[in-house]
């Protein structure tokens, strides 16, 4: 399975919501080996995941929230 970046990005995001199938994981891993852009995307998605977790655990009170 040879992926382009659009398909790779779709799988990276799908991985946030479901467990990828073996073939999907293998295809994605192969693509990431040769694609710096998608590796960057994976890091961005990881940051979003961490950020959302912190936001959920400790909801901020935005300064402009008022009373």
């Amino acid at each position: 399975m040879r992926l382009d970046c659009r398909e790779a990005a779709r799988l990276v995001l799908a991985g946030e919501d479901r467990r990828l199938r073996w073939r999907e994981r293998a295809g994605l891993r192969l693509h990431l080996l040769v694609c710096a852009g998608c590796r960057g995307f994976v890091q961005q998605v990881a940051l979003m995941r961490q950020a959302l977790q912190r936001w959920r655990d400790d909801p901020t009170d935005p300064p402009d929230a008022g009373c």
């Binding site: 659009r6 990005a9 799908a14 995307f41 940051l47 009373c67």
Partner: protein, 184 residues
Amino acid sequence: MAEFAFEVQALRAQLLRFARLQLRNDDWAEDAVSETVLAALQAPQRFAGRSQLKTWLIGILKHKLVDQLRRHAREAGPRGGDDDADLDELLFRRGGHWREAPPSWGDPEHTLREREFFVVLERCVQRLPAAQGRVFMMREWLELDADEICTHLAISASHLWVLLHRARLRLRECLQQSWFDARA
């Protein structure tokens, strides 16, 4: 007791903020928050200082939000209108390559220490189209699994995946533009 009621009321605005973010409908949000406050005032003994008052109230609110979503499934569920079929066109060239390769966002710890970043994050979630925003919040904030979301909103799994995919792509775009580009 009066003091407890006062403290609960003081948190109302914050609860409403989350209710609006989740439901995307001011009336439903008001209802969910009113039910939350009422439930809290009726059973203050349950609070018993187990956790911070805000955490406790948000826990109640989450249940009330699910109730609202279920009650309004017909209107809350995404129907028809494919609002951004061409989101992919914006990000990828015809051959499936990135138009613009995702740039580095730097040290995550550095970003996550910035309080202002979370304000931007919340604003970006708020900017998601309503249907995407609802399922995204159900997934990330209410922490429901896919089956539950599909059941509550009466949508198919494949529809849910499409909405979540778009929501995450949009959120990424928004963070890029509103935070990372602005800081470059």
